[in-house]
Amino acid sequence: MTVKILRSALFLILLASVSARAEDKIWSAVVIASNVGTPREAPTQLLPVINRLKRVFGYNQFEILGSTTTTIDDQVERWLIPTEHFWLNVKARHASAKEARGGYLLNLQLFHDKRQLVETEAKLAPDSPLFIRGPLHARGQILIVLQVQPPAN
């Protein structure tokens, strides 16, 4: 009887944790950064890091060209297509590092018009965006952003 109860409790705990993890999402965006006379207000998604971006890349305006959000699960491969020219293939594993705070170890492949530019492994904590400096366009510098979003409370 006790074993049955313990088994049921363990199953419920596992089910709860799996369902909670299943709500994690990854947001990706293609951003163009430029220097203009009167910069527009930064997109809401970039507001927490906008000042750092300005210092690191040296631009005063950041615009999102396209973005996409999808759920991520452990060991499941996802295609992220924020724009028709840039897309990413992502395979996620739960990161065990303490500083990752329940984030993911991502295996990323970045493509530009069917050409694979780079493959990388990166640990991302929730709400900690990773920036990839892409090609330079006549309008400005192209950046690709990835961010793990924890489930909304």
Partner: protein, 164 residues
């Protein structure tokens, strides 16, 4: 008109005479006959020994008397204890807390460095490219706490290249 007490004192001292003495003795017989003989004895005694003996060392005599009185009536010793009342204890506790808080804030707190809370964490573990002309470098700026994968050697995209 003299009171009874005045006439009684005068009678003991033997200062009543004549009709006044006879009148008072009749009154005394009627009110307190048992006291009459003893009161008369006291009056005789006082009259025969009216002068008190002279004391050559009056101070020493007084001291001895006072010492004897003190030894026969010991002063109750005050019991010292720490039994404070509840409100007194509460006030003492509150004041101690205030004092401790003030000391902590002024002496200990300024030496403790305040931790910088920045939950940002993005780390590039491994990176590889597939074109010898392209290089990718992880860049982490500790000052700005931002991680960037910096790709160099990519083709310039002209204005004719539609991004959207």
């Amino acid at each position: 008109m003299k009171t009874f007490e005045e006439r009684y004192t005068a009678w003991i001292d033997g200062k009543l005479s004549g009709s006044e003495l006879a009148c008072f003795e009749r009154e005394l017989d009627a009110t307190a006959p048992p006291d009459k003989a003893s009161a008369q004895q006291l009056g005789d005694l006082l009259r025969h020994h009216s002068d008190a003996p002279a004391l050559p060392n009056a101070d020493f005599f007084t001291h001895q008397i006072m010492h004897r009185i003190a030894s026969e009536n010991p002063e109750p010793q005050r019991r010292r204890s720490w039994s404070w009342s509840i409100p007194r204890l509460a006030w003492a506790g509150a004041l101690s807390l205030l004092l401790a808080g003030a000391l902590f804030k002024t002496i200990i707190l300024p030496d403790v460095p305040k931790p910088v809370v920045d939950p940002y964490f993005a780390e590039i573990v491994d990176v590889r490219t597939f074109d010898p002309n392209i290089s990718a470098t992880p860049v982490y700026n500790p000052k700005d706490n931002v991680t960037v994968l910096w790709i160099e050697g990519l083709d310039y995209l002209p204005a004719s290249y539609k991004l959207q």
